[in-house]
Symmetry: D2
Subunit: 296 residues, 4 copies
């Protein structure tokens, strides 16, 4: 089986530290944060910020060339804590040498999964994928063809509540950082949503808030909309109502049957999910209440 | 005042008959209709058709070069009645020499109105605009600057029910064919919706069915969507739920305030309304239950 | 190896005859063609037509439900010849039970190929893929994983002229109908372009006519364009100048390096190629000089 | 004449200083610039930056709330000079209380001009428009209807060289900051391009670099492209080859005649020009060789 070759690492990408910060907005934050970096000779590759007028929160993302700093990520964290305390910063430092671990949950539809796996192997998604979990056995060969572990957890009607803890345990055992619902088609219980808040990413096959819930393409067809869409969002206990990461739409017309919508929609689902996951992995997405800041 | 010059008539557009047909789908309809046209030597400039599998209805639009027919529109209608009877056709023949009469209803926002008037004068919209009605006086100069009659019908709080009959009477007196709600911001009563069914066109400033009703940009901001949209639809007694003619969306991001959404949305509202109205005037839009067939 | 399962056949698609017609435009063509079909009780599922004012040519595509006709495709052809002679029709009848045979030519980049193979297996592309040919050995496992024959034809520098006849012979031996250059990166000699005119489909990684030739993303970066694009076109002896089937563009910004353009471009290349090939397989694309008619 | 009412000033927009900076990239720039602002208690509303790897240049835009600073723009400039010297900054400080003065050059087509004037009066474009210059008299009423001076400068065939200095003199007399070619259709001589480098904005009616020069829609039709476009760029002595500010594309199909392309193109021309000009007026566009940085 030949898909097991290692994913490409893009040669142009040197090791970086990605610092993300949120705090109550005030003067001097950027000066303090960039002053800290500059005082150690750090080279800033990218920086973006946003002051949200409705919540009064400040958001920042800074990408630093690792080799420009005189110390490693652990000492960075220790030293930065002082700056952070002064401005009440919520912050995270992500070292690109430590790829996040993505666990994918799927059902029987393979278009999103196949797309993610291809991107992962092509080096477009900077992550490890240690595990794929499914409530059906069909996609095992696709997954194992990439050298990735596949676990089938049956969801027996009437006893689904038993299956979710098993999924969570597999996620924990795989030391998962991100859980991706790549057309998983099962509603996660509230306790799992809360335990992994901000770490579960779903693709919904409509332009939310339109057509939440089941069979969105059938709903879209019945309403006679002229565009269909897809939405990538963080999962919360509120069905299809979590913070939106990315959306897109696609023009259709009166001649498109529901089956055509299903087919056309697959393309937009996979690209919206891939962009949303990519941005999450690159620490571009910061949650702001039920909205997101996405640094381009 | 110099805007009163006549709207341009595009020189490339010769007189045409536009025949639109709907009926229960069966074999032989197209052969019969085109056979009728061909038997008189008629030259077909455009033709499009659609068989709807869910409703079993057939839809067709044929554009015929007027000068290729040996008789005028009245005789066309008489002779075509026989074909129509056989296939139970609902049909209409529109002579492009007889432009439709469009009455525009506005409130205080001028972006959609200004756009329609500019397109009309540029010859992009093949129609007459005999009248603009508003519940506010502010847009009178803009309208009269184009040599078009402006009527102010005050909508007094608590006595709005009195105003609607006056609007309808003005529409009738102006021999209106189409009523365009160009950000009119008042909910039409059910009896008016029914009396002019299929002839009232609204622009709603959201991607329906999301954010129906009031303040859709505020709703969109609060939900944190990544695209905003606009919807052009026929008005029915069901608020914002009539058959959709055209929609479009526009990318926004976290940095856009509600005010920015309002500003950006104006561009998409005016272009979606202009396309929807244009297609209606060109007989491209056929209603199919609560959906539309739009022949491109 | 489990990818070898048969491609899905969409259950909703019954056997159809797709009739495509081009001829000098005149009155009565549609009446004659649809009259022929109706006289045998044929059920028309889709029909579209176009009269081109610049070339005076008429184009038509009609999809007929096979089971509604009292005879098979061979007798259809015999009987239709009489109609065709009268109007000097160039015409083709394609039976959807006889899928076209697609031979894919690739180099080392796998994104277009992987996408086509996934769509083929999902039943989105109605064709057979008997063979993939490459000037490099790397993609053999991907291809063979789908149960498809892979042939490596080395293109030795200075002796490339020897390789092309071998590719053509493989195409002929596989009884290929369509040759798809899925990022093949080799310029076909004029004789091959002519021998398979209208049957070779290329994806070029720019919005043609901008950035024809080599390294289009580098050209786009240097010019500072704000959108990149991709173009699917029929191959002619004129490099990157054949009739365009489909194009699309994607927004980029100043922060995108050439490497980012390459990455982002892959998504648009694969979707533009897939649409173009799909439309070709569905007989939606008719060549009109150096332009195409594409029936939606 | 009622269009002469003052353009709206958006109530939500307080006075701001917009600081734009470019310099050779090095460590500590952002810390120094934001440190300067913070040391005076300045409140940063927006900030964006870009380090260009190909040119080694750094670009930054910072928007500061004016009332948060303890001194006015003049003292700001004096004090900032010291920071600027250390890092070899090219910089500008724009006070939003001092709107830029835009002079528009037009020919006979009014769609871009009418759009700019409507946006200006709606408060969407923060600028003054003291003057419109045209080589034809037709658009005088439209311009004067907005209370703006209109000057007709005839361009006599064979003696066009005489007209350009007159245009430049009018621009200077109007104390113009920006010259907008809103479908002016005349090629500016090199000396004017150089004198006002970075201050002349053109809208070209194609997706450059495709179809530079005359009659781009005719060129697009002949080539059979599936999308048309428009490009807003700074004018240089090289025809249609200056730094691109903004572009967009629009889907067309085989049924669209050249006249349809002209009509459809007008919408995209006016929106692309409006966006490009708006971004220029908001100091979002920084020139980087023959490319631009556009801060969103």
């Amino acid at each position: 089986v030949t898909n097991t070759r290692e994913p490409r690492r893009p040669q142009e990408a040197p090791r970086r530290y990605v610092l993300t910060v949120t705090c109550p907005d005030t003067t001097g934050i950027v000066a303090a944060v960039t002053g800290f970096i500059a005082s150690h000779g750090g080279w800033v590759l990218e920086a973006a910020q946003h002051g949200d007028l409705t919540t009064g929160r400040f958001f920042q993302r800074i990408v630093i060339l690792a080799e420009s700093m005189p110390f490693g990520p652990e000492e960075f964290k220790v030293r930065f804590t002082e700056v952070a305390r002064k401005f009440e910063l919520d912050w995270e430092l992500h070292d690109t040498e430590v790829p996040r671990r993505v666990v994918v949950l799927v059902s029987r539809e393979d278009h999103c999964l196949a797309d993610l796996l291809h991107r992962w192997r092509s080096g477009d998604l900077q992550c490890d994928i240690p595990l794929v979990v499914s409530n059906h056995p069909q996609l095992r060969p696709l997954v194992e063809g990439y050298g990735i572990e596949f676990r089938h957890v049956p969801f027996v009607s009437g006893r689904k509540a038993d299956a979710f803890p098993e999924v969570a345990a597999l996620f924990d055992a795989a030391r998962g950082d991100v859980m991706v619902l790549a057309r998983f088609m099962q509603i996660l219980p509230a306790d799992i949503c809360q335990r992994y808040a901000g770490r579960i990413i779903n693709i919904h096959h409509s332009f939310l808030p339109s057509f939440a819930g089941a069979r969105p393409y059938h709903q879209a067809f019945a309403r006679g909309v002229k565009l269909i869409g897809a939405t990538c969002h963080y999962v919360t206990a509120d069905l299809d109502a979590g913070p939106i990461i990315e959306q897109d739409t696609l023009r259709i017309d009166h001649a498109d049957s529901v089956e055509e919508l299903l087919r056309l929609g697959r393309d937009i689902e996979r690209s919206v999910l891939a962009r949303g996951l990519r941005w999450h992995l690159e620490d571009r997405v910061l949650v702001n209440g039920n909205r997101t800041v996405v640094f381009g």
